[in-house]
């Protein structure tokens, strides 16, 4: 039985949440980014559950299945896509801005700082949950290893 599956799952979870955090940071950093080609577009990550399917994992799953342990229900996580949020930009009246249109409006990114902060807290909490899994798994393996000591 592959005893590192739980750790792999936890690290996949942490990796995915960290990618999400990077996108949130990008959104926050660019909340006032405007340009001649239009404002910065808000981005968001979409996660996808995938079966554990590297060669090692598949082989191990087949062996485990034959041995009666292991199962197909375990799913790791990855970023499926980083999607652009296509909602319309926020228009602010700034007639002196060189990027203003005929009505004196400038298109700003549609980024709500509150939404990004909420997402950030959620990402950070999910990251911590996966970290807790990694720690617990490590504890369990340490207690199994201590059987070898006298």
């Amino acid at each position: 039985m592959n005893d590192f599956v739980a750790l792999d799952l936890a690290s996949a979870g942490m990796h995915a949440q960290r990618q999400r955090m990077a996108v949130i940071a990008e959104n926050l950093a660019n909340q006032n980014t405007i340009g001649p080609n239009g404002p910065y577009q808000r981005k968001e990550v979409v996660f996808r559950a995938t079966p554990l399917n590297s060669f090692d994992d598949s082989l191990q799953a087949a062996l485990d299945k034959a041995a009666g342990v292991g199962n197909d229900n375990l799913k790791t996580v990855g970023v499926a896509e980083v999607r652009c949020d296509n909602s319309p930009p926020e228009r602010r009246y700034e007639p002196n801005n060189p990027l203003a249109d005929a009505q004196g409006n400038v298109a700003y990114p549609n980024i709500s700082i509150f939404r990004e902060m909420t997402d950030m807290v959620e990402a950070s909490r999910s990251y911590e949950a996966n970290l807790a899994v990694a720690k617990a798994t490590q504890d369990m393996q340490t207690s199994a290893l201590s059987l070898a000591q006298r």
Binding site: A6, V69, N73, M140
Partner: protein, 116 residues
Amino acid sequence: MNLFPQNLTTLERVMDLRMENQRVIASNLANIDTPGYTAQRLDFEASMQNALESADAPPVIEPSAEPSRSADGNNVDMEVELGQMSRNRILYSVSSQLMASKLRQYSTMLDAEHQA
């Protein structure tokens, strides 16, 4: 002849199932923000029952029937999973300590035999 008595084998199965449960919980928590993911649950009692009848019995893992509380259809509840995980970890270490004490008893007996 079976070198180790029945209770050690039972403890071994318990530890295997607890580790498998840890994997299931790890999978749930990794997918805590995955749209449409359904949490999986390992039914420990049923799995143990099967494991005692046949060593090759696969664990009983079923999708959780908990309703989803978010718009994306994901029904993983972080607090439930973390609670299950703590519980699972404590019960794992109970089994491993029981096993350690059993193994110590055997080595004491073997030492006594050796000295006699």
